[in-house]
Symmetry: C2
């Protein structure tokens, strides 16, 4: 007996790309299955706020199946993809289970890359998941706690060195917020240390912070970081990381050491391993970061039933009447790719030609700390660049606006209003002091005196 | 050189007892050090709400040092006590460090007891800490997720069996809330299972639920649990627990089995191991639950410089003109003990006689679910017992009132208002899917078909 069924579309990953793809299929006569490794869609642009105790996890994470409760053509599954069998058109899950598809959208995103030095990971966690954010929150808060207990002055000072590696938006936000915590949130709560004496060092391998921004906004961001008391070191390459600190190679001069038990990695991004897996089975190319090279319509060469979107895709944008250009790894691009991939699937089902991807770039923005941000706005009527207080307000409302769910917007706005007036950060809860095996905070007392 | 110093008071633990003790010393000419294993004071009566995804952790946990920021005679330390050296008047911490004291208040609280069956712990986590709550939240939500993925109908049904062991306040609240989640929160979000078909079983070894309550309120609570669809089994003793379920011995009949991958332990309470440690060094008695037997003024016999309060103390109440009676292990008693112990320390320093403990019992209350609670109120003007909607409102405002911190009260009220109107539970975020080594959720698919 052959059962006629509606076209089955499997979407792997429910970040910005996957979520938008599934939403774009609302009302369509198809069966959609969304598979994700976690049970929540994460609003990654605010993840650093969870890491720095400004927001609780539920404020920026919405359960995937709750988001689709009123979209009956979507089935949500929690699971990790172990294999994509292209010839059988089947996605296989870890711990058993398989999903047959006619159309596959892969939106598995990216993870952090240590540029081949994965041995650094235990000492310098990155910031991609809620577990990462909890790990960093734990390290930051425990560093101050350990310093309050430490009796040796040298060790105590080293315990208050915070290092952030990489001055992209996440690194700049982390460093700025750490400075705010040290200077504004914690003073008055310690009796033996002065939290304001903490050193926050931001290391960047390139010549400026926020390299995706116009050069004058980079300069503004640098000034704002200085005002907040962040030590920014440009053209500084990390050559070693261990449990007690790191070694830095400056542009001029010799390698020097920074002692620190709290190092955050915000430097490199690598595509999900699923990209390589896919590339092996369909013989498609990946770029240096492991991203899958896609056709103009985001499908794979020779495999129109498979599309790749978001941070996992090495995609080009084809603006009308202009040269194609590379699509950056930012959330608006992922959302637009997700939407187009879904629409292209519906076109294929209807026997229509697919459209090429055209990335609408509305600009770029990053916050540095209280009252400081930089905004580079690209609108049809012109190009606007601004920084400081107004940019910070703009950043704030833009992020609240794009948060998923009315409730979350309200909660985040209120949390921020509270933090703004009280300088307090309410989510200063450390859990899992018995640490995760692979994310063990280094025993500061085991470090040699410098 | 001998430096004159103010009397040093060390308080171990910052639950209800320790927190109140330290607060009672505000303004006194003493040096107070509060040591706690975690960095937060936890409002345990609402911990089940974190476990059932109704509240986020920061809503019920306030950083200890933030609570004391305006009390300059208090130093907060994060640390675990490894030893109390009574002859040297010294508290030793794990990972080094020691604290000299003239007066010591031990408020280390309680943990769960498996009645000698600690091998059950990995399969039936208790609910005492935030990490416990996250562990239970993970198991509850992952059970529904696994059932949605499961293709075998028998296993799928077993995957939706939730068992709560122990029908005290925590057990009743857990079971009632699980029923609410299954019947009201999740329906509409799954495509392959009906969450409302979940079975919630509440096992109680004794003859009634909420045994600390008057018998008619126990009866009301039982009826409300039935209305919510909870299967209550009284006089039912658990004789075995493993990764796939448990064996129950009823009052009449043979042992039977319930398959379940989500079992919560709310049955036994044991004093902190610090009680035994203390008892060994000062030769004072402990009771069966490991609680330290204290003098009428809460100090230890022969060691007036040491007091024990809260769940760690086997204390008697000495109401004026009445027989002494045992003090129950509830938060109002812990708070009152903490306050008296602090006052008695100040009396000792001033050379005044100390006072005996007199527990003011204002009654007892427990909630069962939406619109259902039982309240047993003991006021000077009389004894009031009520249940149902009004009791639920009373429970709600009483809990919000006693929450620490204005912000937390506001947040919890708003979260509840939201949950009330939308039936949603916003904190449905599962983290740490790679589970903790000692709290590993059992592989449901590895269980035999029943």
């Amino acid at each position: 007996m052959t059962v006629q069924h509606r076209p089955r579309i499997v979407i792997i990953g429910c970040g910005f790309g996957g979520l938008e793809a599934a939403k774009a299929l609302r009302g369509a006569d198809v069966d959609v299955t969304v598979v994700d490794k976690t049970n929540h869609h994460l609003f990654q642009p605010l993840l650093y706020q969870v890491a720095t105790a400004g927001l609780s996890a539920p404020a920026i994470a919405a359960p995937v199946r709750h988001l689709f409760r009123k979209q009956p053509n979507v089935t949500t599954l929690l699971g990790e993809v172990s294999d994509i069998d292209v010839s059988a058109r089947m996605v296989r899950l870890k711990d058993g289970g398989e999903l047959a598809y006619e159309h596959l959208i892969v939106a598995a995103g990216a993870t952090h890359s240590y540029f081949g030095r994965d041995d650094w990971a235990p000492f310098a966690p990155g910031l991609k998941t809620l577990d990462d954010a909890f790990d960093i929150r734990r390290r930051v808060l425990l560093a101050f706690e350990a310093a309050e207990r430490e009796t040796d002055p040298t060790r105590r000072a080293a315990g208050l060195n915070f290092v952030v590696i990489g001055a992209g938006p996440t690194g700049v936000e982390m460093a700025g917020t750490l400075a705010e915590i040290a200077r504004h949130t914690l003073p008055g709560e310690f009796r033996r240390i002065d939290p304001a004496s903490a050193r926050i060092v931001l290391l960047e391998g390139g010549p400026r912070v926020l390299q995706a921004m116009p050069i004058d906004l980079s300069q503004r961001a640098l000034e704002q970081l200085h005002t907040l008391g962040v030590e920014v070191r440009l053209n500084a390459r990390v050559v070693a990381i261990d449990a007690c600190g790191l070694d830095v190679l400056p542009a001029h001069g010799a390698v020097y050491r920074i002692d620190s038990s709290c190092i955050t990695w915000a430097a490199g991004v690598a595509a999900s391993p699923l990209g390589r897996l896919l590339a092996q089975s369909v013989e498609v190319q990946t770029d240096r970061a492991g991203r899958v090279v896609v056709e103009p319509d985001l499908s794979l060469a020779g495999h129109p039933s498979i599309s790749v979107v978001g941070d996992l895709a090495a995609a080009q944008s084809y603006p009308a009447g202009q040269q194609p250009r590379a699509v950056p790894g930012v959330s608006p691009a992922a959302k637009q790719m997700g939407r187009l991939a879904a629409v292209n699937v519906l076109r294929r089902i209807a026997g229509q030609p697919t459209a090429a991807f055209w990335y609408r770039d509305y600009g770029n923005l990053a916050t540095i700390g209280r009252h400081s941000a930089v905004v580079d706005l690209v609108l049809p009527l012109g190009h606007y660049k601004f920084s400081g207080y107004f940019a910070w307000l703009f950043w704030l409302f833009a992020h609240v606006y794009f948060l998923i769910g009315f409730r979350n917007r309200l909660v985040v706005l209120m949390d921020w209003a509270w933090a703004y007036w009280s300088f307090a950060r309410y989510a200063r809860v450390v859990t899992g002091i018995a640490p995760r095996a692979h994310g063990q905070p280094p025993p500061a007392s085991g470090c040699p005196d410098s």
